[in-house]
C-alpha cells in the first residue's frame, strides 16, 4: 500500500504539479582547445563539443521515457571563452560565438553557456574583447549565452566592468531591438558567480571543474505550492518542515536522473542544483508559493521573510537528499518567467526595489526584469553595482539580468516567448548616479571579521 501511495503521489507531482528535471547540463572544458591560431582553436572546440555531447540529447530523452519524468532542457556549458579565445592571436571573437552556436545546433541542445569573462579584479585583453563582442555575439547567434563575473567577496567589485556592462546591456538591447531586446535575456552579470551552475543564461564551466561533467537542475515550484495548500493553517515551523520534505523528494528525482545520465554517458556526475525555477505556465510559479504562505500578492510586506524561509527550507531538504548539491540551489525570482510574478508586476504589487530586497535572501538576483528602453546606461550600471554589493557583503551569488526593451516604456509589455515568457516594463528610479558610476577603479572587498 505504501508503494500505491508513492506511485500516485509521484504521478500527481509530474502530471498536475509540473515536477520536472529542468535541465541536464554537460560541462565541457575547452582548455585543451587553445591555439594561437584562432581558426584551429575553433575547429578543436567544435570537434570536442560535438564528440563529448553527441549522445547527451538521446540519453536524456531515453531516461525521460524510462522514468516518466520530463527532462525539459539539455544544455552545454563551456570554459569561459575569454580564456580560450584570449590565448589566440585573434582580436575579433565573434567567430568563437558562431562556432559554439554551430556545435550546439549539431548536438541538438537548446542553449550553450560560457561566452563569458571573469574579471572581478580587472581585465585581461581576452576579457575586454569578449565583453566588447557580447552584443554582436548575442544578436548573431541563437543558442549562445553570455555572462560576466565582475565582483566577489574576496576581491571586491570591478567598477570599470560595472560601468562597461551598463553600456554593453544597452547595446545588446539595441542590436536585438526587433525582438524586444531579447539578447539581454541571454546575458547575466554576476558577483560571486558559481562555476558549476547548470541553469542558463549564467552557466559556464569553471576552470576548477573536471574535463567533462554532468550537472542537473531540478525544479518544482508547483509541487511545493500543492504541499502547502494541504495545510492551510500550519505554523511557520510546520510549513518549513513541509517544504523541506518536498524538496527532499524533488532532489532525489534529480539525483537519480543525474547519476543515470552520468553512468550511461561515462561522464562524471557533478552537482545537483535544486532551484525552484518557475516558468510562465500556470502552476509553475514561485510567487504563488509566497501567496499560499499568506501574502495577497508577491511583493506585499512579508515577502522577503516568506522568501527567506522558503529558500532556506528548500536548501535544507535538498542537502539531506543529495551529497552533491551545488550550483545556485534555492528559489529563483525571475519576473518574466513566473506567471504570479508577472501579475504582481502588472498590478504594481512588486517593484524593482522590493525585488532587490528579496535578492538578499534568495538564490540569485534581479532576473528577467524588463525596464524602459531609454533607461541610461549609468542607471543600469548603478543597479548592477547595488546588486553586486549585496552579493559581495553577504557572501552569496547575485546576478542581474535586466532587459531595457528598446522603444518600450512603463505600461508596455515585452514578449520573449517560450520559457523566457513576457513581462510588463517596470519603473526604474529616475534619479541619476552618473558621477558615481563614472569614477574608475574598484570597490574594495569588505572586512571578513568584526561582524556586528
Amino acid at each position: 500500500m505504501a508503494l500505491f501511495k508513492n506511485v500516485i503521489e509521484t504521478i500527481q507531482m509530474i502530471e498536475k504539479e509540473k515536477l520536472d528535471i529542468r535541465t541536464i547540463t554537460m560541462g565541457i572544458s575547452l582548455l585543451d582547445c587553445v591555439d594561437s591560431d584562432g581558426a584551429k582553436a575553433r575547429q578543436k572546440i567544435y570537434d570536442k563539443i560535438t564528440t563529448c555531447a553527441q549522445n547527451l540529447v538521446k540519453e536524456g530523452e531515453r531516461i525521460d521515457t524510462e522514468l516518466g519524468i520530463p527532462i525539459v532542457n539539455k544544455r552545454i556549458s563551456v570554459t569561459p571563452i575569454s580564456l580560450i579565445a584570449g590565448a589566440s592571436n585573434d582580436s575579433d571573437y565573434i567567430e568563437f560565438a558562431k562556432t559554439l552556436d554551430k556545435a550546439a545546433s549539431q548536438v541538438g541542445v537548446n542553449f550553450i553557456g560560457g561566452y563569458s569573462a571573469l574579471c572581478p579584479k580587472g581585465f585581461t585583453n581576452g576579457d575586454l574583447r569578449t565583453i566588447q563582442s557580447i552584443p554582436e555575439a548575442l544578436a548573431t547567434t541563437e543558442k549562445v549565452c553570455a555572462s560576466v563575473n565582475l565582483g566577489s567577496s574576496q576581491t571586491g567589485i570591478n567598477m570599470d566592468a560595472v560601468r562597461l556592462m551598463g553600456e554593453i546591456i544597452k547595446k545588446t538591447a539595441y542590436d536585438t531591438r526587433q525582438d524586444d531586446s531579447i539578447g539581454c535575456a541571454k546575458l547575466v552579470v554576476f558577483c560571486n558567480a558559481v562555476e558549476d551552475n547548470p541553469f542558463m543564461a549564467g552557466a559556464f564551466h569553471g576552470v576548477g571543474e573536471p574535463d567533462k561533467v554532468i550537472h542537473v537542475g531540478v525544479s518544482g515550484p508547483g509541487v511545493v505550492k500543492t504541499a502547502l495548500e494541504k495545510c492551510h493553517n500550519a505554523s511557520f515551523d510546520e510549513m518549513a518542515e513541509i517544504i523541506k520534505k518536498t524538496a527532499f523528494k524533488i532532489t532525489r528525482a534529480g539525483q537519480l536522473v543525474g547519476t543515470t545520465v552520468s553512468k550511461r554517458l561515462g561522464v562524471p556526475f557533478g552537482i545537483l542544483d535544486l532551484s525552484l525555477a518557475p516558468t510562465p505556465s500556470v502552476g509553475d510559479s514561485v510567487a504563488r508559493i509566497l501567496e499560499e504562505m499568506g501574502l495577497e500578492h508577491a511583493g506585499a510586506p512579508g515577502t522577503t521573510a516568506a522568501l527567506a524561509m522558503l529558500n532556506d527550507a528548500v536548501k535544507k531538504g535538498g542537502i539531506m537528499a543529495s551529497t552533491s548539491v551545488g550550483g545556485l540551489s534555492g528559489a529563483f525570482i525571475p519576473v518574466s518567467e513566473d506567471e504570479g510574478m508577472i501579475e504582481s508586476a502588472e498590478i504594481g504589487a512588486i517593484t524593482l526595489e522590493k525585488l532587490e530586497a528579496m535578492t538578499c535572501v534568495c538564490s540569485v538576483g534581479l532576473d528577467m526584469i524588463a525596464i524602459p528602453g531609454d533607461t541610461p546606461a549609468t542607471t543600469i550600471s548603478g543597479i548592477i553595482a547595488d546588486e553586486a554589493a549585496i552579493g559581495m557583503v553577504n557572501h552569496k551569488t547575485t546576478a542581474v539580468r535586466l532587459i531595457p526593451v528598446y522603444g518600450k516604456t512603463v505600461g508596455d509589455r515585452a514578449e520573449f516567448g517560450g520559457l523566457l515568457g513576457y513581462a510588463p516594463i517596470m519603473k526604474v528610479n529616475p534619479y541619476s548616479c552618473d558621477h558615481f558610476i563614472n569614477r574608475s577603479g574598484k570597490i574594495p572587498p569588505p572586512v571578513h571579521s568584526f561582524k556586528n
Binding site: 508513492n6 504521478i11 516518466g68
Partner: protein, 89 residues
C-alpha cells in the same frame, strides 16, 4: 529490472485483460497487482519484471498507451527506481 504500470480512469470490463495481454506479448511478467477506487477513479498498479522483455522499453510504453487509449484510460510505465529514490531515505 522492475517497472510500475499505473492505469487510471473510469472502471469498466476488460482492463486487466487488455493491459496484461500487451505485457504477455512482450514477455513481461506481472509480479503484483493492486487496485482501488481513488477520488472516484479506478486506479490499478502493476509491478512488472522487464528482465526477459522482448523489444524495447519505448515500444512497450507505446503499446500500453495504445491499449489504454482504446479503453479510454490513462497509463504510465515507469522504472521502479524513481519511486524508491523519491520516497525512501
Amino acid at each position: 529490472m522492475r517497472a510500475v504500470v499505473t492505469v487510471i480512469g473510469k472502471d469498466r470490463t476488460g482492463i486487466i485483460y487488455s493491459i496484461s495481454k500487451v505485457l504477455a506479448e512482450s514477455n513481461v511478467n506481472i509480479e503484483d497487482i493492486s487496485q482501488t477506487i481513488m477520488q472516484g477513479f479506478f486506479t490499478m498498479i502493476m509491478l512488472v519484471d522487464l528482465t526477459n522483455m522482448t523489444g524495447d522499453f519505448k515500444q512497450l510504453k507505446s503499446d500500453l498507451e495504445n491499449a489504454s487509449a482504446a479503453l479510454g484510460m490513462s497509463i504510465h510505465l515507469q522504472h521502479e527506481e524513481i519511486f524508491d529514490a523519491m520516497h525512501t531515505i
